[in-house]
Symmetry: C2
Subunit: 320 residues, 2 copies
């Protein structure tokens, strides 16, 4: 009998899962369309059925030991998804209670937000193995973060710690989805770099293939592709985004002085276009006591299975 956990990554569009052993081997994968379910109960049951079918397909040799889930606004302490704006269901939805009743009361069910799951994944299966202190920065639609101090994820008072995307980068700056202005994620994220492109299009005079696209049409992938063709606006946007991220990381260093920052998610796939200016500006802005010590790395889980592995790692970390 092989013990496995189910690692579940809840996205606004799809919910993806994998059947994962302790060493990070994935024996089966599946997904259901998150958006197709209007309420939490229907989604939970459909997900349970899909996993159940997958387990039958795999045969009798596998036993589910626990379930780990990374979800937007997933709260580790309460076990609930709380007011996730990108999901169809509102309010507090109790993942732990619901999935225990579906899979069995004896199963471990553990929930956290997607960035914390990424941090646990990096710690268990990725580049942060053996690191005592590190921070994962997820650069997707927003900027998420998972902070690890003394080998433990920092959850704080109520499970909402490590929201570095909502540290104010510029007072009275860009409007943020949280209702305030100037949050870091309005500058540094897939959406942030797009806003920076439009700022540059407004303020600079150089030609750019991005001048032909509307705000709705521009994506961070298109900016990356333009940068690869030496598009000046795209290159300036990466420089500016890396500068802002580097300045922010220099501040974060004074908080927990991590051994490394890991960049994860869509924008991190731009590789050196984002990594190089981030490192350079971080070093330039660090207080002298922190200089030449702190690494900035791309996540070693930067592929399609990363979020699933992170969620699985969360369950395994709890089971150990």
């Amino acid at each position: 009998m092989k013990n496995v956990v189910v690692g579940i990554d809840v996205g606004g569009t799809n919910t993806v899962y994998g059947i994962v052993d302790k060493d990070g081997n994935i024996y089966g994968e599946g997904s259901i369309p998150t958006q197709a379910y209007q309420n939490f109960e229907d989604w939970s049951e459909a997900l349970h059925k899909s996993i159940d079918d997958k387990m039958k397909e795999l045969g009798n040799e596998f036993a589910i030991y626990g379930i780990g889930m990374g979800a937007p606004n997933g709260n580790y302490y309460s076990g609930c998804i709380e007011d996730a704006v990108n999901l169809n269901w509102n309010g507090k939805q109790n993942v732990v209670t619901t999935f225990k009743s579906l899979f069995g009361e004896d199963k471990l069910v553990v929930l956290t937000n997607d960035a914390n799951a990424a941090a646990v994944g990096e710690m268990v299966y990725g580049g942060a193995k053996g690191m005592k202190d590190f921070i994962v920065i997820t650069l997707g639609t927003g900027l998420g973060s998972g902070v690890v101090v003394n080998h433990q994820v920092v959850y704080g008072l109520d499970g909402n710690a490590g929201e570095l995307g909502h540290i104010i980068f510029e007072r009275n700056g860009r409007m943020c989805g949280c209702g305030r202005r100037g949050c870091l994620e309005t500058y540094v994220s897939a959406t942030g770099i797009k806003r920076t492109v439009f700022d540059l299009l407004a303020n600079e005079n150089v030609p750019s293939e991005l001048r032909g696209l509307s705000f709705e049409e521009v994506t961070s992938e298109k900016i990356y592709k333009a940068a690869q063709k030496d598009d000046q606006i795209a290159l300036m946007a990466f420089e500016e985004t890396g500068k802002r991220l580097g300045m922010a990381l220099a501040d974060f260093a004074a908080f927990s002085t991590p051994e490394a920052f890991f960049l994860f998610g869509g924008l991190a796939k731009s590789g050196d276009y984002i990594l190089e200016p981030t490192k350079r500006y971080m070093e330039e802005n660090l207080c002298f006591i922190y200089k030449d010590k702190i690494k900035v790395l791309l996540s070693e889980l930067n592929d399609k299975n990363a979020a699933v592995l992170g969620a699985a790692a969360l369950a395994w970390a709890e089971l150990n």
Copy 2:
């Protein structure tokens, strides 16, 4: 036989110590003038002699179990005081090796910086008893901090974590002793509020008793006394300082979401003059997920023995 530890607080002017039991009772106290010793060895020997004499005075019933020291630039990991600018000796001075050779190799000797010692003191003897996550902000000449996450002081990669005074509050702002511009401590500290007073004297037209004093003459105590007499400049300086600290605490909340912030040290003795605006602006600036949850409190160790108790608590915490 009563087991005690020696709690030592190293200041630029005086080195103060206390003989402290597990419950925080102080059986004897003493001090030597730090400035009188030109090198680290002479200071160490004088301190050892003073403690030794004090122990003889107390009699045979007390046994030294360990030594805890809080010192400027005291590094928990290396056991060294490293390049402390306010002390007579330069470079790395190994406290652990030196004091073990003076007091006995079997004695525990533990060193940290003054702000971390204050945090441990707050945790063991003060208002943070039982709190999992909290942050102590020390408001002296500079702004120091001790960050506690999951009941542990955050030391980071190399013992220098938790220097929140060197997070940039305003880009290209006031010149800081660290060589950069705009660090939080240039605005929020005993020195910071004095700089703010001079900024206000330059920019406002209201009368103030502080107009008769030079930059060298003004102290945070004099600003406090002026505020108690409703001096408009002094009141505005406290409002402005609390505003900046409140805005900074709102950012720190997104990092580790502490149960409480504790204000400690000289400027914290101004009580509500600093506490009230800090609380108000923190709440106003917090991201909605953190509102109405986080306390801002005055340290319960805000008296003359606090630093000694903190250093003693550090040794006791390590011995447990």
